[in-house]
């Protein structure tokens, strides 16, 4: 009976999974096909594996360079975001001081500002700092924009941790920082991993801000490079080259998710069952 009630939900979920997997499979298989084969063979496997499509995307489309830019910017940004947000979230969730709620609400308000509204001020500030069209400038913007969400997310995690452990460590002579570093942070790791994955995925795919800030081809990130590749490939009908580019872009996201998904799910369900 329970199964029967859940059946529509199962069907919907499995249909969605099948659609997503089929779409990804189609993209990956198309990346190995010839130009003639790609638009007419549907989900049939490629007649032969054409690795040269990846070579085209990597070298001619310069995805290799853009890939390095993305890896450096995104990894550095995620590290800096966590470096700033984790202690901030800990203090905002556990410490008692005047203005704590107002400060927390300020971060929540920060999440509500639409990014396009920030384009002009961000561009103006970066130009003033002489950091427009630079990877450093983009990294700073990525960190600043991601902090409100990350602090909000981690505040929830820290708030759900038992306060007894914190009190015990203080009684044992730990300083506030040691309590945070050696007691609370390890316990919040699923939450930190969740924050890392979510930030990694959105920054890896981020397009709008990068388009506004970056100009020089050598500074492009992978999404900008992919857009440039798409523009170029449509004029030469090199769809397999484009799909190879798409495959290159999605693989890191899938890898990060595959490696860290358990931690992420644990983090998201943490405190859900008492």
């Amino acid at each position: 009976m329970t199964l029967l009630r859940r059946l529509p939900a199962y069907i919907a979920i499995w249909a969605w999974v099948a659609f997503t997997v089929a779409a990804i499979l189609w993209v990956v298989m198309s990346a190995f096909k010839s130009k003639r084969e790609v638009l007419r063979s549907g989900l049939k496997p490629p007649a032969e594996l054409r690795w040269e499509n990846f070579e085209t995307a990597w070298n001619v489309g310069r995805l290799g360079e853009f890939f390095s830019n993305s890896v450096v910017i995104v990894c550095l940004s995620v590290f800096l975001i966590l470096l700033v947000s984790t202690p901030a979230a800990y203090v905002l969730s556990r410490a008692k001081f005047r203005g704590r709620e107002a400060l927390t609400n300020l971060f929540v308000i920060g999440m509500g500002i639409p990014i396009p509204m920030l384009f002009i001020p961000i561009f103006g500030i970066l130009a003033w700092l002489r950091l427009s069209d630079s990877l450093t400038g983009l990294t700073i913007v990525f960190v600043a924009i991601s902090i409100p969400f990350t602090v909000y997310l981690l505040t929830g995690f820290f708030a759900s941790l038992p306060s007894e452990l914190e009190a015990a460590s203080l009684l044992d002579g730990c300083s506030d920082f040691q309590t945070f570093r050696y007691v609370m942070l390890p316990m919040a790791m699923p939450g930190v991993a969740t924050a890392a994955i979510l930030n990694f995925i959105w920054l890896w795919n981020e397009y709008q801000l990068s388009l506004v800030i970056l100009n020089s081809p050598e500074n492009r990130t992978l999404p900008l490079g992919l857009y440039s590749l798409q523009n170029a490939m449509q004029y030469t009908s090199d769809w397999p080259g484009l799909f190879a580019g798409v495959t290159i872009v999605i693989i890191p996201t899938i890898l990060v998710y595959a490696i860290l998904s358990e931690k992420m799910i644990a983090g998201m369900t943490m405190g859900a069952v008492k």
Partner: protein, 425 residues
């Protein structure tokens, strides 16, 4: 061997080292995307130029098709750009039309590395199109023609022994193709600027190439009620009614239509001369490309040799720090050897009339060589009234072309919208 190499080097030196420049970096913002073959040729040309002029280097930004918009924003923000390129009509309606480009009349009259002047090397009709208000503010270096591209073998198999030059002959030929079991005409329903060429050509053939601009400039909009418009709409509607354009095409999204040509399911398509290049690796080996001029409508005022083109031009923005060096590079890029490289490697038509084009577009070169005049996109409407051209004319036409509105609704709509356009302008 070394003698040949030496001659080659001295030739390059002769072509490029016409002016000596101190340390110069030419900032070039490009209309092409970096992976495109045209960009690769331009890169090679820049390398060649720098080799012959070691003090000149290039700083290139590959912006793609939105280059002019990007350049204008950058210029407004104080960025200095020495050289840029964009489509000719867009430039005439934009930077050049607004006097924001350096006049290139001096460059046109200057000596070419191949002998004669730079202007002498052009197809005269092409250079004439680059002129605006008695001055040349841009120099085209590559271009496409809009023609009816076809699979020559399929036309032959259908018994079409002679390429038709009249509308009646064309319709008969397409009927023969259809009877042979192949779809006659491919279209892409979602690409309004492809489909608009049916009406552009029909109006040009029936009422002459000036008619469209007159209709747009008539502030009452009443010129749209001219019988030429009804006739043109009837002729294109008949292609659908006769099944020459297959019904399923109404739902085609690019590149679905041209794929049917690549796979031998359709014999022809009215499109730019980029088609054989786009489909180069999708057609079967030995595919025979042909391109015919848009046929003449019997009793019309136009000329069957008038051909619509889409050209790409260099321009030097006003205020460029290294305008002189940029112009010297343009001179080099228009030389015969540079243009031949563009034609051979990027398989595109080029401005230098002495250069041979790739085999797959040789019919296009012939059409250009025989053209009485080369017509701008949308018969000049895009240059004069770009917003009217795309938002009103192309948008309305695509609806009538795909059968979403009737011919009468189109005409009444054009009358009203033309009136409204001039009232709000």
């Amino acid at each position: 061997m070394s003698h040949i190499k030496l001659s080659g080097l001295s030739l390059i030196a002769g072509l490029t080292a016409s002016v000596a420049f101190a340390e110069t970096e030419i900032t070039y913002w490009s209309f092409w995307n970096e992976p495109e073959p045209q960009a690769q040729v331009l890169k090679a040309l820049m390398d060649e130029y720098s080799a012959a002029n070691p003090d000149v280097t290039f700083n290139v930004v590959w912006n793609g098709r939105q280059n002019q918009t990007t350049v204008r924003n950058a210029l407004a923000g104080g960025t200095s750009i020495d050289l840029m390129d964009a489509d000719m009509d867009g430039l005439n309606g934009g930077l050049v039309g607004q006097g924001a480009a350096v006049p290139l009349d001096g460059l046109v009259a200057s000596d070419s590395p191949d002998g004669g002047t730079v202007g002498d090397a052009f197809y005269p009709a092409l250079l004439a199109n680059a002129e605006l208000n008695g001055s040349v503010g841009q120099l085209p270096y590559a271009f496409y023609t809009y023609q009816i591209f076809y699979n020559a073998a399929q036309l032959r198999d259908a018994g079409v022994s002679e390429i038709p030059s009249t509308w009646a002959g064309y319709v008969d030929a397409m009927k023969a193709v259809k009877d042979s079991g192949v779809n006659a005409i491919a279209v892409e329903s979602d690409i309004a600027f492809y489909n608009i060429n049916w009406l552009n050509y029909l109006l040009a053939r029936i009422a002459g190439p000036d008619f469209l601009l007159k209709a747009a400039e008539d502030k009452t909009g009443e010129t749209w009620r001219d019988p030429a418009v009804s006739q043109a709409l009837e002729l294109e509607a008949a292609l659908w009614a006769d099944g020459l354009i297959p019904e399923e095409s109404r739902g085609y999204q690019w590149p679905a239509g041209q794929q049917t040509l690549a796979f031998g399911e359709t014999a022809t398509e009215l499109v730019g001369s980029w088609l054989p290049i786009e489909l180069a690796e999708q057609v079967e080996e030995g595919f025979e490309w042909g391109a015919m001029n848009f046929p003449m409508v019997e009793g019309g005022k136009g000329n069957v040799n008038d051909t619509i083109i889409y050209a790409v031009s260099f321009a030097v923005p006003e205020g460029a720090e290294d305008a002189e060096a940029a112009q010297d590079f343009i001179r080099f890029a228009l030389s015969k050897s540079a243009q031949q490289k563009m034609a051979d490697d990027a398989l595109i038509g080029v401005a230098n009339a002495s250069v041979e084009w790739a085999d797959v577009i040789s019919d296009s070169r012939e059409a250009v060589a025989n053209a009485t005049s080369l017509l701008s996109e949308n018969l000049g409407l895009k240059v004069a009234y770009a917003d009217y051209s795309s938002n009103i004319y192309e948008a309305m036409h695509n609806k009538v072309f795909l059968g979403q509105i009737t011919a009468d609704e189109f005409i009444n709509g054009m009358v009203e919208q033309t009136k409204g356009y001039w009232e709000n302008r």
